[in-house]
């Protein structure tokens, strides 16, 4: 009797165990079948008919806020009353929506920005619709073709377009114009004058002039080094570094640039505590005049809007890492809008994307966010709601004598950016030389090449 009971217990145990496992596994099998059944070109074909039904839009809310989105979505709703719009928005939306993407039930439209999102990864995973053919047909309000009106063209993966760059952001170096005017400090125009200005400020104010987030070394990488590499070696060098091409990181041109960083460290220009700071702490330091320069994107004034001291006047220059006599360099950072490969309502999704790309919304984007939408022919100077740093930066960016625009092929993969960022932090803390850094970076690039 006892034996039988024991046997029953074992059976029960096994049965429950098997049931839980099969439930788990079978749901995965079903889903992966659906995933492979889709053809990437299928979604791009237009189907004529009513635009109605549910439209799910996922957008990250960060430094730019969400007021622009609210305006566009409300207008879209008026234009297409039969569409029910479901918004998925917030600062953690990329994490919150991840399970939807994994289970092949994505939203229709996605704005790719913020922590936890990676356009490169999404394209590699086949999650975004191929828009190459469809985008040709889109026109702006005055009949201009959209593809000819981008400031920076869409990123391409093997020649195909999977997303449309909505926000034109760029990293640069910020300073307090009011402080500079009051004390007569020179605004830098190249690396040498940058070093001179920092030396003067170090003496005059008794502070370490430069700060960035040590917890997120990519702030320095994207904000200072990309422009430096662009100025030194153009698009080609940038592409080689981002794709981890053999020998790119150990090239002389990169070593020279890294020597500049080493020099900044040796002369005590970096905040001695920056290794500990996260991005808000570093920005707070900057606002409190504990430092004079910080590399951040256009979103800085908006992000820190509640903490700006009285009299603080944001000044923006492209990061001055280039040699004397060279124009400034900027490397735009684009935040794209895309449609999911498995969107349930591709028609409405396309209607929305087309709806958002207009010069009118580009103007209102700058008003709402203090940043620029990626469309040419938007005259910001006439609009007094737009902050002065933006109109000035916009004028600079449009003057090739002053500023050269360099483009990266696509954002750097986190698999490469993380180890390079770590080594960079060591260099900036003075625990590594420029020579050691380039070797470490080359090693990281080699690992990256091997893993793909």
């Amino acid at each position: 009797m006892k034996g039988i009971l024991k046997f029953r217990w074992i059976l029960l145990f096994l049965a429950i165990f098997l049931v839980t496992l099969t439930v788990g596994c079978s749901s995965e099998d079903d889903a992966s079948e659906e995933g492979t059944g889709n053809d990437s070109s299928e979604g791009a074909k237009e189907v004529e008919g009513e635009i109605a039904g549910d439209l799910e839009i996922q957008y990250f809310v960060g430094g730019y806020g969400d007021s622009w989105w609210k305006e566009v979505i409300a207008d879209f709703q008026k234009e297409y009353p039969d569409v029910t719009i479901i918004e998925h928005a917030g600062p953690n939306i990329n994490e919150e929506m991840r399970s939807r993407w994994v289970s092949n039930d994505p939203p229709d439209v996605v704005y790719i920005d913020g922590a936890g999102s990676s356009e490169t990864q999404m394209v590699e995973d086949g999650q975004l619709m191929n828009l190459t053919d469809w985008v040709e047909g889109i026109e702006l309000e005055n009949g201009d073709k959209l593809v000819e009106s981008f400031i920076v063209d869409p990123g391409k993966f093997d020649g195909e377009i999977y997303s449309l760059p909505l926000v034109f952001d760029t990293w640069g170096t910020w300073y307090d114009r009011a402080l500079f005017e009051e004390k007569g400090y020179e605004v830098p125009t190249d690396f040498d004058s940058f070093m001179n200005a920092m030396a003067e400020i170090k003496k005059g104010e008794g502070i370490d002039p430069f700060v960035t987030s040590g917890q997120h070394p990519y702030y320095f990488l994207r904000g200072m080094l990309y422009p430096a590499f662009g100025a030194a070696g153009g698009d080609e060098l940038l592409a080689d570094l981002i794709t981890g091409k053999e020998g790119a990181w150990t090239s002389d041109i990169v070593l020279e640039t890294m020597k500049k960083v080493e020099k900044m460290q040796q002369e005590g220009m970096f905040d001695s505590g920056l290794g500990a700071l996260n991005h808000t702490q570093s920005q707070m330091n900057f606002l409190l005049h504990k430092n004079a320069f910080i590399p951040v994107g256009f979103w800085l004034p908006n992000e820190m809007a509640n903490d700006i001291p009285k009299g603080f006047d944001f000044g923006f220059i492209p990061s001055p890492m280039q040699d004397v006599g060279e124009p400034f360099a900027i490397v735009p950072d684009l935040r794209p809008l895309a449609i999911a490969e498995n969107a349930e309502n591709p028609k409405a999704a396309k209607a929305f994307v087309e709806f958002a790309f207009t010069r009118e919304y580009a103007m209102s984007f700058s008003e709402h966010t203090g940043a620029i939408m990626n469309l040419t022919g938007v005259d910001l100077t006439a609009n007094d709601k737009i902050p002065s740093y933006l109109t000035e930066a916009n004028a600079m960016i449009n003057d090739p004598e002053q500023v050269q625009i360099y483009e990266k092929p696509h954002p750097m993969s986190a698999d490469l950016e993380t180890p390079i960022g770590n080594a960079l932090m060591s260099l900036m803390l003075g625990n590594m030389t420029a020579e050691e850094f380039v070797k470490e970076a080359e090693k990281a690039a080699e690992n990256y090449r091997n893993s793909n």
Binding site: V102, M122, E124, G126, Q215, G275, D415, T418, S426
Partner: protein, 297 residues
């Protein structure tokens, strides 16, 4: 009325089956699915995954950061066990034996960090360590010890030791209560007898208190080891994110970085398997070394 065997087993099943189902869903299933994913190259953000056999385990062995994360974890384990046990024991003895009037007040003070979320503790201590505005550096400056001021969490050598203090501070309360419970159960007559025999306070502690609260000490140590190996992730993630230059990465935070920042979910799962194996081994070894005959006087 005598219960039949059937009734007895029905009752047992009634108690055990729901628990077991919960256990299967929330512990066994994640455990085995973690093991399953460790054999795949998977970004963790899509459906697409590819079976790669032991490739993730091979990369694990070749990954230069892994040994560092293991060392960092065991550094935290060792410092936390020593720090928490010594302080908790000291306070427990002081609060029970020394007949301090304010004992209940101190008990609350020491236990207070335990009711706070570790995330809050991490953020709080990040402010304390802040290189410019933080309490520690300002305090050192106030005392004229500027030369000792450091960017604690931003220094490759000091970041990891700096994490020990908040971990200990957050951990003392619970073990203090456990040890106090143990000490309160020791009969007063042992101490009286020891005193008559001429034993000093110190000897009483070593010969009476310590052997009699050994079971509590053993459980506390095991508990600290397990929670540190599995949970040091939180404090690292909140305070340093593993930086600067991997100086504070523990296995858990490196797992998080690989799985959710670098999109190598399969590799992250492999690190998870490693954590499981190391935790099990550590606990087994500790059990072996800490076994002692039960003491009764």
């Amino acid at each position: 009325m005598v219960q039949s065997k059937k009734q007895k087993y029905l009752f047992l099943a009634f108690c055990l089956v729901p628990t077991f189902i919960m256990f299967a869903i929330f512990t066994l299933y994640p455990l085995f699915s973690g093991l399953y994913y460790s054999f795949f190259d998977w970004s963790g953000a899509s459906q697409h995954k590819e079976f790669v056999g032991l490739a993730n385990y091979i990369s694990l062995l070749k990954d230069a950061i892994i040994p560092d994360t293991i060392i960092h974890d065991y550094f935290l384990v060792a410092t936390k066990v020593i720090g928490i046990m010594i302080l908790a024991m000291f306070f427990a003895v002081a609060l029970t034996q020394l007949k301090i009037k304010e004992a209940p007040f101190y008990r609350i003070v020491f236990f207070f960090p335990n009711i706070m979320s570790v995330v809050v503790i991490g953020i709080l201590w990040t402010f304390i360590y802040n290189p410019n505005l933080g309490l520690i550096n300002s305090g050192l400056e106030f005392l004229g010890l500027e030369s000792f001021a450091k960017p604690w969490l931003g220094d490759e050598n000091w970041a990891l030791p700096s994490l020990v203090l908040p971990s200990i501070w957050a951990g003392i309360g619970l073990f203090l209560l456990m040890l106090m419970g143990g000490i309160a159960n020791v009969s007063k007559s042992y101490y009286e007898a020891a005193e008559i025999d001429g034993a000093s306070q110190w000897q009483q502690f070593w010969k009476v208190t310590l052997p009699l609260v050994w079971p509590q000490i053993k459980i506390s140590v095991l508990y600290i080891v397990i929670t540190t190996l599995n949970g040091s992730f939180i404090i690292v993630q909140v305070m340093t994110g593993g930086g600067p230059n991997n100086a504070t990465h523990v296995m858990g935070s490196y797992l998080y970085q690989q799985a959710f920042v670098q999109y190598n979910f399969g590799y992250g799962a492999t690190i998870g398997v490693m954590i499981l194996i190391l935790s099990l081994l550590t606990v087994l070894i500790l059990q072996f070394f800490m076994r002692r005959e039960k003491v009764e006087y």
